[in-house]
């Protein structure tokens, strides 16, 4: 049992962090907003060359077969940066499917994925193919065979679409032993949890800087206990999200029978953390927090979207509750890390 990241994991995520700090500025995000249909393909290429985009592809198709805990750590950094490019989606949703159907899917491209929990694929027009589910069965289809319509997201960093297949015969049904519908659902829950965790950390960092800088009554507003306690409440919820996200990633990686339960728990707590970070973080910025000019809303809006998709609060709460009902005898302290099959 060891919850520490290895030196390699830390090194890998720090190098991504460095890239993001240097390249994904709030200015560059705002520039994207003015032309929000396509993501920066140059940035995608760079991240691909650095090995991040293909990190969890199988080695046989040019990846590094990285484990999901490391991937979750990377996605948390992506969340922190506010980057519009759908790297998180590629790592968590597309790559595991590409590994499974490597002969049918072009593994050098962004692959859009749609699911009942997130039916409006992000950056669909930047993808050549789409994987979607019909009656929980997975299908692969070329984008040109789809009728698509752009939708406006509350988060201008997301470029989302409605789609319709003209004819289901245009799509290839993907045959698998696994329940891919549930697999993508679980991956989606953990992906959005890791993003929300990173976003929450960004929001509290912004609030911290602002309250140390802004002065009223002759001193920084961050010296007032009412403000301090408000941000302490945020720090507490963030702290208790970390380990849940890593455990969920680990359970998926190990094919643990509790993977769905653990993913739902991670999502629930990360929604809670992002909710209080957004509420108290914006409050700490005062009226400035309610302006378009202040960068804070870049992160609040992204959190807003990912709270709702890939497992909303009531959805994940129901998942957990139904599990509790089913497994009442196996809920005590000695079962935290047990597989229910044990």
């Amino acid at each position: 049992m060891n919850f520490n990241f290895s030196d390699d994991q830390a090194l890998f995520s720090e190098s991504l962090q460095k890239y993001l700090n240097d390249n994904v500025t709030t200015k560059s995000i705002r520039e994207f907003w003015t032309d929000n249909t396509h993501f920066l393909s140059s940035r995608w290429k760079e991240l691909e060359e650095l090995g991040f985009i293909t990190a969890n592809l199988d080695e046989s198709i040019g990846g590094m077969s990285l484990d999901l805990i490391t991937i979750a750590l990377l996605v948390e950094k992506i969340g922190y940066s506010g980057m519009p490019e759908p790297i998180a989606e590629q790592l968590f949703l597309a790559n595991p499917l590409i590994n499974e159907f490597s002969s049918q899917i072009n593994h050098n491209e962004y692959l859009a994925v749609a699911h009942d929990l997130a039916p409006h694929p992000n950056f669909l027009e930047d993808s050549k193919q789409l994987i979607f589910f019909q009656d929980q069965n997975p299908y692969l289809i070329d984008i040109e065979k789809l009728k698509i319509r752009s939708l406006e997201s509350n988060d201008p960093s997301r470029s989302i679409y409605d789609f319709e297949a003209n004819n289901l015969d245009d799509a290839t049904k993907l045959e698998s032993e696994k329940n891919l519908y549930e697999q993508v659902q679980n991956y989606g829950m953990v992906m959005s949890s890791a993003l929300l965790l990173g976003l929450s950390k960004r929001i509290i960092d912004s609030a911290k800087l602002y309250t140390c800088d802004r002065e009223q009554f002759g001193k920084p507003i961050g010296s007032f206990q009412a403000v301090k306690h408000m941000l302490a409440d945020v720090a507490i919820e963030i702290e208790f999200t970390n380990a849940l996200v890593y455990r969920a990633a680990s359970s998926i990686q190990k094919n643990c029978s509790n993977a769905t339960l653990h993913a739902a728990q991670a999502k629930f707590q990360s929604i809670k953390a992002c909710e209080i970070a957004s509420k108290n973080g914006l409050q700490a910025h005062g009226a400035m927090g309610y302006t378009w000019e202040m960068d804070l809303h870049i992160f609040v809006r992204k959190g807003w979207s990912y709270k709702g998709i890939w497992g909303s609060r009531p959805f994940v709460e129901n998942l957990v509750f139904n599990n509790l009902k089913k497994d009442l005898p196996k809920l005590g302290a000695t079962y935290t890390f047990m597989d229910n099959n044990d």
Binding site: F3, A235, F240
Partner: protein
Amino acid sequence: MLLLKKETQNLITMKIEFTESQNQFRSEIRDWFSKNVPSKPLASFDTKEGFEEHREWEKTLNQGNWSMVTWPTEYGGRALNLIEWLIFEEEYYRANAPARVNQNGVFLLGPTLMEYGTDDQKSKFLSAMAEGDHIWSQGWSEPNAGSDMAAIRATAFRNNDTFIINGQKTWSSRAAFADWTFGLFRSDPESERHRGLSFILVPLDQKGVTVRPIPQLDGEPGFAEIYFDNVEVDASCMIGDEGQGWEIAMATAGFERGLMLRSPARFQETASRLLKLYFDNQDVLSPSIASRVTHCWMQAEAYALNIYQCASKVMAGDKIGSESSLSKVYWSNLDHEMHQIAMDILGISSELKNEYLNNAASWIKGYMFSYSGPIYAGTNEIQKNIISERLLGMPRK
């Protein structure tokens, strides 16, 4: 860039599962508890009779060498690491073993003595503590020094080989029946605030000591006032140097807030009992109760995972400092919420102190106790100051 790819190929990752030897250790404890935990619950350790029953349990634990499991073997412990400690605690709560009447000694003073005590002090106090012969109480707070502990006024003035102690301590946990107390006293009459304080151990049967038990909300004397009237204590009862008291007390408070006393297992077991209470009564309950019960179960798990993560950090050589303030606020609020929900479910039985149906009596006692969580070991308001100032770096003034 290619270099990066190559370097990360044999990535060793975080391991979130128990090893074979950890699982074996778990079954060893489970086996011992199944044979040794008293079948009938003991009386409350805040009664004279219950205190002695719990002293006996301390002795039983010690006979099995399960009393001070995290202490080094040279002091009679098992030198368990923190992960093993968590496993031990999970089994402890699973077995519903009696509460530790000597927790002030075993978890607070013991580690403090090991760090700051002389060899003589260690040999005199550690074994008596382990054997249950010395049960310890805490002597920090005073009537005018609560959250502001540096305002301490009780004095211990040096007179050759003794200290003469005068003043008053209050909220001293377990002092009603304990054998000894440890605490901070002002040894330099000219000093102010954190300076000039010394950490001194005082036998409660010493001449000049008056203990006045204070009944808590449940009516039992869980803490007491201690009056010192020219109490003479041998100078060998001082831990560390004169004036070093504050530093030592902070180390002790660190242990206290840390994971030793607030095992996640305690809250997870409460959460499981709460779920059972819910499912036994669900036909007459509203959807909001189902939701709240679910949240609590998830929070108890989140707390456990966080503590495993902290334990991993400590084992890798990191120090846990102000981070323990995050846990303190979290577990104390969680514990209160779980008992509050139980009261909501019990409804008309929630006032029946002796009702056995639905374990009402036990929930009622726990509910009362859960009001103390956000207060003791540093109030949650103080903890939030620590979080914002020391973890977030917000300005003190």
